[in-house]
């Protein structure tokens, strides 16, 4: 029963990691930048919603929209400002990484300054508790799974069938070719960041009713999302889902069979092992160099 309980928790977390990883993958696909502040964007989105509801007294749905738009707006501003400056300078890969790490640090400090040290909870989408094979699952966890799955599906359709999605792909794969067909390559990169920021904030908003969102959880969330993204394949939305589930379930199993304190260590060791042993099947040789 403990096993089933852990499995359910792992699956729920897995969908959250998948969403974070999806955001990282979307930004990488569109700009060849690994966004190391993805976890912090999730935290910022969730914290904004919590405080919009608590302090300004906004209705919950409006607070959630505000949180999602905040994540998106920050990502857009980051792209328009520092990211463009680095692209203009043709900065090296490590500069982009240092930039996003530094921005992540700044955002987490901002959350600490504005919202304090404690962990913030959002009210869940439903209060019911269901029993599955002797274990219990909260209604909100089912919502997380359902909404994440719908988002992943929608993203797939977006990239395959909409004009904007196809333009974003084209601008990334062949910037010069895309420009000759009249695609605004720089605007497409901004759109990519907007989408990534939105996904990050949504991940934070979805997980906030289940576990408290604190200012310092960014790096861990980024790393687990990154592990999900490369495990599943950075270019394939469904891959991030598979990757997220593997990480989430493995983490849950390590709580049962190793110790709860070691779950992060197990997940991150897996990340290193994946990067070393299955790097090519995941990102493809051409894509690996990034920048």
């Amino acid at each position: 029963m403990l096993f089933t309980q852990a499995l359910l928790a792992g699956v729920t977390n897995g969908f959250v990691y998948a969403l974070v990883g999806l955001g990282i993958a979307v930004i990488f696909k569109g700009s060849h930048v690994i966004n190391a502040m993805q976890g912090e964007l999730a935290v910022v989105g969730a914290a904004t919603a919590v405080f919009a509801a608590a302090i300004w007294g906004l209705p919950l749905w409006l607070a959630v929209v505000a949180g999602a738009l905040t994540g998106m707006a920050i990502a857009i501003l980051v792209e328009l400002g520092p990211i463009r400056a680095l692209f203009a300078r043709r900065a090296r890969e490590e500069s982009f990484l240092l930039l996003t790490v530094g921005l992540g640090f700044t955002f987490s400090a901002g959350v600490l300054y504005l919202f304090g040290r404690e962990e913030h909870l959002l009210p869940p989408l439903g209060d019911e508790v269901y029993e599955v094979f002797g274990a219990i699952i909260r209604e909100h966890a089912l919502w997380v799974i359902g909404i994440s799955a719908a988002l992943i599906l929608a993203l797939r359709l977006f990239y395959r069938h909409t004009h904007l999605g196809l333009s974003m792909m084209a601008a990334s794969i062949d910037p010069d070719g895309a420009a000759t067909t009249g695609i605004n390559v720089r605007a497409m990169r901004t759109a990519t960041f907007a989408l990534g920021g939105l996904l990050a904030a949504l991940a934070g908003l979805l997980v906030a009713p289940l576990i408290g969102v604190g200012y310092q959880m960014g790096p861990l969330l980024t790393l687990k999302g990154f592990a999900a993204a490369i495990l599943g394949g950075l270019s394939n939305p469904l891959g991030a889902l598979v990757g997220g589930l593997v990480i989430g379930i493995l983490e849950a199993m390590s709580i049962v069979f190793v110790s709860s304190g070691m779950k992060d260590a197990v997940a991150l060791t897996l990340l290193i092992v994946i990067m070393i042993f299955v790097p090519d099947g995941i990102l493809g040789r051409a894509g690996r160099k990034g920048g």
């Binding site: 890969e93 990484l97 530094g102 921005l103 991150l268 990340l271």
Partner: protein
């Protein structure tokens, strides 16, 4: 070696190296007098500053030692190391455990910390240094978090959150380094020696091979430079310095716990060369002073200081790609060129 210069027109390796040589081996009279002045100020500082300020400077020295390793990786190897706190922790815990729990002499603890760090770096470096770019950076970040996790769990050695109290003060030849002033005269000479050693290393065969590896890896390989081994060496060097700094930290503060070795400390050590400038080993001095002193100055503004500190980092990545050291070099270069130009006009 500014990134914008290299990306516009990458000079040949030979050209860049000879330029480097010229810059490093012929200090001008002005440079020497500045150096002498700096040395004087360095010696006098603990006597004129109040104790709290000296205490801060001691921490700057610790950051310079650990940051020098990270800076060498970044500047000479192009490797972003986000896991230095892991080795800082190994040094800290080795010293604390050996001297506070086992009662061994301090040098034994320091040596064990360094050897343990080198061994672990060799073991872990072997697989993860095959990665590059983003992958390698994130692998080191993961490594740092894994180690923090282990420090937390292995409380029979580390004491978990309670930590290890009662680490004895360092004593060398009858001198007990029990005040910030005395420790200042211990930690900074070690930091300067480290930086000088790296400076010399840069001019050596290994340093030249490193530059070749960083700027033209394929050409380096053709010239039989073993990239993998070089990377492993500098990774081990960096982690050894991290351990040394951690050991000194343990003896200075007298207490270690898991909070001292978290991800934020790794980021801080990376900031030392990023803000100071990674292309020259001496850049880490500027970076360490910035990291150690600026948050303190900003803390009078209240809790916002962490945000401002983060923004300072972002600004330095965007506007000063070669750090404050590079900025200073560009400015003095500008002044020198301008004064040279006017001299040229007056004496045709």
């Amino acid at each position: 070696m500014l990134p914008n210069k290299t990306s516009l027109a990458p000079p040949g390796i030979a050209g860049e190296l000879s330029a480097q040589r010229l810059r490093t081996t012929r200090p001008s009279a002005a440079a020497l007098s500045v150096l002498a002045l700096a040395a004087g100020v360095f010696l006098i500082l603990p006597m004129v500053l109040e104790r709290h300020a000296v205490d801060l400077l001691v921490f700057c020295g610790l950051y310079a030692i650990a940051g020098a390793g990270v800076g060498f990786l970044l500047g000479q190897g192009g490797i972003v190391n986000l896991g230095q706190a892991a080795f800082y922790g190994i040094g800290g815990y080795a010293s604390a455990y050996c001297s506070a729990r086992l009662g061994w002499p301090a040098p034994a603890g320091i040596a064990i910390g360094i050897v343990l760090s080198l061994a672990i770096a060799a073991l872990i470096g072997q697989p993860i240094l095959r990665l590059s770019g983003y992958f390698l950076a994130l692998a080191t970040l993961a490594l740092g978090i894994i180690c923090t996790n282990i420090y937390f769990e292995a409380d029979f050695i580390t004491g978990g959150t309670l930590g290890v109290p009662g680490v004895p003060k360092l004593a060398v030849g009858g001198v007990i380094f029990d005040t910030p002033e005395k420790f200042y005269y211990l930690v900074w000479p070690i930091a300067f020696a480290t930086i000088l050693a790296m400076h010399n290393l840069m001019g050596s065969r290994i340093g030249l091979a490193l530059q070749a590896m960083r700027d033209a890896p394929d050409a380096a390989m053709v010239m039989a430079i073993d990239n993998a081994r070089l990377k492993l060496w500098i990774f081990m060097l960096s982690s050894g310095l991290g351990a040394l700094s951690g050991s000194l930290f343990a003896h200075y503060v007298g207490f270690v716990n898991v909070d001292s070795f978290g991800v934020d400390k790794s980021i801080l050590f990376l900031l030392v060369p990023v803000i100071g400038g990674a292309s020259v080993p001496a850049g880490v001095i500027v970076g360490a002073l910035f990291i150690g002193l600026v948050p303190e100055l900003l803390s009078t503004l209240g809790d916002i200081h962490r945000v401002l500190f983060g923004l300072a980092l972002v600004a330095s990545v965007v506007f000063f790609p070669d750090g404050l050291w590079g900025l200073g070099r560009d400015l003095t270069g500008l002044v020198r060129r301008r004064s040279g130009a006017t001299r040229g006009e007056t004496t045709p």
